[in-house]
C-alpha cells in the first residue's frame, strides 16, 4: 500500500497542488477545497442561494486519477474506505444530493452540472484514461483518511492496487460571507 503523505512522491514532474501518488501504474491526487472555493464555483454557474448554502455546509475533496498501465483499472467507490478519527466517514453521494436538490426544486441544468463535477462511482479506466471529480463529506469533518482500492484487469481479476492518503484536512471557511 502506498501513502500519499510520504515525501518521496513529490518527485514527479507535474504541477499537482495537493497530496498525490504517482507510480508506473497510476496517478492519484487530491485537492481539498474550501467552502468559499466551492461556493464561488457554483455561484458563478448560476446556482441559487439555497443550493450554495447546502454546498457550504460540506467538505469537498477533488480527486484526479490517471491509468498509466496497459491494463484496465477499476474505479469503484464502494470499495474505497473513508475514516475520520478512527470511525467510518459517510460520503455524501448522489442519493444525498438528489434529496437536497429535490427539497429546493433545483433546476435541471444545475443538477446536471453538479453531477458532472462529482467523481463517478464506477469507471473502467482504460490505458491512458484520466478521470476526475469531487468527493463530498459532512461539513463537521476535520481530517479524513482515504484508502482507495482498485481492481485491475478487464475481468477485475488482476492485481489489487491499494493507495492510502492520511490526514487530509477539510479546508474551513476563513471568513463568513
Amino acid at each position: 500500500m502506498l501513502f500519499g503523505t510520504l515525501p518521496w512522491v513529490s518527485a514527479a514532474d507535474r504541477q499537482f497542488r495537493g497530496p498525490y501518488i504517482e507510480n508506473d501504474t497510476m496517478l492519484v491526487g487530491l485537492i481539498p477545497r474550501s467552502p468559499e472555493q466551492m461556493a464561488a464555483f457554483y455561484e458563478a454557474r448560476g446556482f441559487p442561494r439555497e443550493a450554495i448554502d447546502r454546498i457550504r455546509q460540506t467538505c469537498f475533496v477533488t480527486v484526479h486519477i490517471e491509468n498509466k498501465s496497459p491494463d484496465t483499472i477499476w474505479l469503484e467507490l464502494d470499495r474505497w474506505s473513508f475514516t475520520s478519527n478512527g470511525k467510518p466517514l459517510p460520503r455524501l453521494d448522489a442519493g444525498y444530493w438528489n434529496a437536497q436538490w429535490d427539497a429546493i426544486d433545483l433546476r435541471q441544468a444545475s443538477r446536471s452540472t453538479f453531477g458532472w463535477t462529482q467523481l463517478p462511482p464506477v469507471r473502467d479506466l482504460q490505458p491512458d484514461e484520466p478521470v476526475g471529480g469531487n468527493l463530498v463529506f459532512p461539513g463537521d469533518t476535520e481530517t479524513l483518511n482515504i484508502e482507495a482500492r482498485f481492481r485491475s484487469g478487464a475481468d477485475r481479476q488482476g492485481e489489487l492496487i491499494t493507495i492510502g492518503f492520511g490526514n487530509i484536512r477539510c479546508n474551513r471557511e476563513t471568513q463568513q460571507p
Binding site: 454557474r45 435541471q108 441544468a109 446536471s112 458532472w116 491512458d128 484514461e129 484520466p130 478521470v131
Partner: protein, 182 residues
Amino acid sequence: MNFLARVIACTLWLLLAPLAASAGDLPAGVMRVDGITAPALQLDDIDGKPYDLASTHGHWRFVHFWASWCGPCRREMPSIQKMVTRLGDTDLEIVLVNTAETEDEVFTFLAAVAPGLVPLLDSDGQVTEVWQPRGLPATFLVDPQGRIRYQALGGRAWEEPAYLIFLQGLEPATTATPAGNR
C-alpha cells in the same frame, strides 16, 4: 494543388504515417466502440438554428461534449479549433455540444479560445445524459451510417499528426458535402 505542394504533402504523409500506426492503429486515448447506434441529437446552436444529427447521415461525425468550467475541456477546445483548420475540407462533421451552460457562458468562453466554432446548447443537460459520456470532455466518432465507432477518453491533442492522420483515414463516406464547422 501544384507540384511542390503535392511533393510536400507526400513527404509529410511518409513521415507522419508511422506515428498513427504506432499504437495499434489508434492514437493514444482513442478506443473502439462496438458500433451501437448513436442516440438522437436534436438541439439548437448558439445562434438559435436547429440541428439534427440524423440529417447528417452519410458523413463521419465528431461529436464532442464539453463545458467551460471543466479544465480539460478548456485545454482541449483550442486544439479542436486547430484540428478543424488543419483538416481543411474533409468529410467530417464537427458537432460540439455544450452541457448545461447558458448562452452567455458559452459565448464568453468560445469567443476567447475558439471563435470559429459554433456549439450546440444542451441547456438542461438531458441530451448529454442520454449519450452517457465517460466524463467531460468526451468525443464520439459516429460513422456515416449513424453508429458510434470510436470514443476518445478525456481531452486529446487533436491537432497533432497522429490524430489528424487517424481522422483523415476514417472510411470514406458515400457523399462529401461540406457541412457544420468546417
